[in-house]
């Protein structure tokens, strides 16, 4: 319970509850020993215990009474406060009736206790939700409060939103990086834990990119701002987390719909229970008492509070592991995910392509020069690797045209360079030679004449195999989509052990392929698409659940996807799956448990096998247990990863 302090209102309430509890206990024990109703004799003997219990009742319940009065004036008949007051005041009335008619004086304690325990329950609910809320808000700590911006040689402290792109900011040790940018001076270790859940600090030096929300651990750095605050990673993440609860799960909607009918239904049954059997038997006080017990359990709060709390805890637990989930509906759907579709490049493989051969070798310099010109503007990893291999700044002045799924055309006057795959060459009728070796081949032609080819290879990520087999172990099917040719796809698929693969896909084919898979799967299951967010936004949106990898720095991916793995690590997938499973299990337990207990109390009350004490304990007890159960979701799931079979641990 560390890190959570009660608000002033909660402290006041707690004090009131404790004092009332003590007074009630004293009164109750005194009543049992000396029987307060017998202290005075005569027809008004009931007044003495009544006055004492009423005092405690008013102390603990004045706010409930006040709210009830106010809400009933506003026409809220099914207001919980009102129903609770009706039940307790009704119990008082019955006790007074007993006193006046000379029966045994009892029942005042009960009326008082019901309201007291109701308040205890309310307090606990408020405490638990407040605590849970705050543990999620810890994530909000990434919001930077200020930026030190260099203006005219002086460092000014301003609001991060006031800083323009291109300005230079200074980040001192212990401060948060307020905006995304590039380091221009200094070197430091950055703590990215709040963003990614990764505990190892990240080293940056001049030329390196920094992401807002990280904390500078070591020494001062100067950063050139590349994005305004609104576009910075930290704003995107905060937006996402704050809006997470907007997308409600089916279960939550079911519960609120259920609650809408539950309270009126119970109240109507209570009225019938009070009137009908009484008219038949004439035993009014018996049946009115049973009806009042109904009102005590008429509040659906245990359910209504514990379900969103469970989801919220699940989203919170995930975000602590660097997995951002955009809404509880996605958590719900993710639990049903049985098909995982992966983009190959950058997702299953590292995507850090490297040029592994240039053919024919004697023309290496010229081929790379031409290829670099054509690929100079592309963010595709293959293009980047070619430019990197060229090593110099590519010539400019060419107009670059992207030919989807085929390659790039670079034109300057009559000079035309074509750079792309076999399809591009075939469509232009250029004869080309495929070099030996596995990997992606980029063919280069100039003026419709074949110049040579560049062989680029990619390697699988270390964790891909382990993650795929973990997903298979959870009964999921995995499909790899790639734009690469059959040969490469087959090799990578075999190496990683994916269940299925589709090769030679154009970007638009990926959407079609996902649609086909969507139509094949059973309606109850859901399909995830996992991509790195580069060029696959349409697929991310089309899939039931779009999962983007390495959210840092790719705001397009954050927007298009439903779940973001902030760390570029696939192990987040089985982790998220475990969290989703646990959350849904707890949600299910809470629904069944709460409904069952309420139903039992209702039945027992109706047949008179129980009293109001049991009803209020049942009601409040269920709420408390459901909340405690919901909080179980909020554990640390990474610890369990450490206890994987030794073989998996050894591979790491």
């Amino acid at each position: 319970m560390k890190g959570y302090t009660l608000s002033r209102r909660e402290k006041k309430n707690l004090a009131r509850i404790l004092v009332s509890l003590a007074l009630f206990a004293a009164l109750f024990i005194a009543d049992k020993i000396v029987v307060l109703g017998n202290v005075f004799q005569g027809p008004f003997a009931w007044l003495f215990p009544f006055a004492l219990y009423l005092a405690v009742y008013l102390l603990i319940g004045y706010d409930v009474l006040w709210r009830a009065a106010r809400n009933i004036v506003r026409g809220q008949v099914f207001d919980e406060n009102f129903l609770m007051c009706l039940a307790t005041l009704g119990a008082f009335a019955l006790a007074i009736y007993r006193g006046v008619t000379g029966q045994e004086i009892e029942g005042f304690d009960e009326a008082c206790a019901v309201l007291l325990f109701y308040q205890v329950g309310e307090f606990f609910q408020s405490y638990a939700t407040g605590k849970s809320r705050r543990s999620i808000s810890a994530l909000m700590d990434i919001r930077p409060d200020y930026a030190n911006v260099k203006r005219g040689g002086v460092v000014e402290t301003v609001d991060p939103s006031q800083v323009q792109v291109g300005e230079v900011i200074v980040v001192n040790p212990g401060e948060k990086v307020p905006l995304d940018g590039t380091v221009i001076a200094g070197a430091a270790s950055l703590d990215t834990k709040a963003l990614t859940g990764e505990s190892l600090p990240r080293e940056v030096a001049a030329g390196g990119e920094v992401v807002s929300g990280c904390v500078n651990l070591t020494s001062q750095i100067e950063v050139r701002v590349e994005k305004t605050f609104y576009d910075s990673t930290v704003s995107k993440i905060l937006d996402l987390v704050e809006n997470a609860a907007e997308q409600k799960s089916k279960t939550e909607n079911f519960i609120t719909r259920f609650a809408k009918y539950y309270t009126p239904a119970v109240v109507i049954v209570a009225v019938l229970l009070a009137v009908v059997p009484s008219l038949v038997t004439g035993a009014w006080s018996v049946w009115v008492y049973r009806a009042l017990s109904f009102l005590v359990v008429s509040c659906p709060c245990a359910l209504v509070i514990s379900i969103p709390l469970s989801f919220f805890a699940g989203i919170g637990a995930a975000s602590r592991c660097g997995i951002l989930i955009k809404g509880s509906n996605y958590l719900e759907k993710f639990n049903k995910a049985r098909t995982f579709v992966f983009d190959k490049t950058g997702t299953l493989t590292k995507g850090n392509f490297a040029v592994t051969g240039v053919y024919p070798p004697e023309n290496r310099a010229e081929i790379l020069r031409l290829a670099a010109i054509a690929e100079s503007d592309s963010s595709h990893p293959i293009a980047k690797s070619i430019v990197a291999c060229y090593g110099k700044t590519p010539e400019t002045g060419y107009t670059l045209t992207n030919i989807a799924g085929e390659g790039v055309q670079a034109r300057r006057g009559d000079d035309e360079i074509l750079c792309g795959n076999e399809k591009l060459m075939q469509s232009r009728g250029i004869a080309c030679v495929r070099p030996e070796g596995a990997g992606t081949v980029v063919y280069v032609a100039r003026g419709n004449r074949f110049v040579g080819s560049v062989l680029v290879s990619d390697e699988p990520k270390e964790e891909s195999k382990e993650v795929l087999s973990a997903l298979h172990g959870m009964g999921c099917r995995t499909v790899m989509l790639t734009g690469d040719n059959e040969q490469i796809a087959a090799r990578v698929a075999a190496e990683l052990g994916v269940s299925d693969y589709k090769a030679s896909l154009l970007p638009q084919d990926k959407v079609a392929e996902v649609e086909k898979l969507l139509s094949e799967k059973p309606a109850k299951e859901s399909l995830c698409f996992v991509g790195d967010g580069i060029n696959d936004a349409p697929v991310l949106m089309r899939a039931d659940i779009g999962i983007a990898m390495g959210g840092i720095g790719s705001d397009a991916a954050i927007e298009a996807s439903d779940i973001v793995l902030m760390q570029d690590d696939l192990r987040g997938l089985p982790l998220a799956k475990r969290i989703a499973k646990k959350t849904m299990a707890v949600v299910f337990e809470n629904i069944v448990f709460s409904l069952a207990v309420k139903a039992i109390i209702l039945i027992l009350s109706a047949v008179g096998l129980t009293n109001m004490w049991v009803a209020v304990f049942g009601d409040v007890g269920v709420a408390v247990l459901a909340i405690l159960n919901a909080m179980r979701v909020n554990g640390d799931y990474r610890k369990k990863t450490a206890t994987l079979p030794p073989q998996a641990a050894a591979e790491e």
Binding site: R67, R70, N71, R74, G75, Q76, E80, E122, S126, T129, S132, R133, I136, E242, N243, A244, A245, E246, K248, T256, A259, K260, T263, C299, P300, C301, V304, I305, P308, L309, F312
Partner: protein, 72 residues
């Protein structure tokens, strides 16, 4: 237009659900969601009448739970 409001002292989960239903019934509101956990209300409503609708929302919510305030 879509806008998010913070809510203060939203104490009861069932009230949040009641508010959400009531707000969704207001004419001109396309979609509204009250999150009890985040203490947040998000509304998507007609642009032209937005301010008017917000006033209506405040009224509706104070009828359900008078203690709760919407921070406009």
């Amino acid at each position: 237009m879509k806008k998010v409001f913070k809510m203060q002292d939203l104490d009861c989960a069932n009230c949040a659900a009641k508010m959400e239903r009531a707000i969704n019934k207001i004419d001109g509101v396309h979609a509204a969601s009250v999150s009890f956990m985040m203490q947040r209300l998000s509304v998507d409503a007609d642009d032209e009448r937005f301010d008017e609708i917000v006033k209506e929302i405040v009224k509706v919510c104070s009828r359900v739970e008078p203690d709760c305030r919407i921070l406009v």
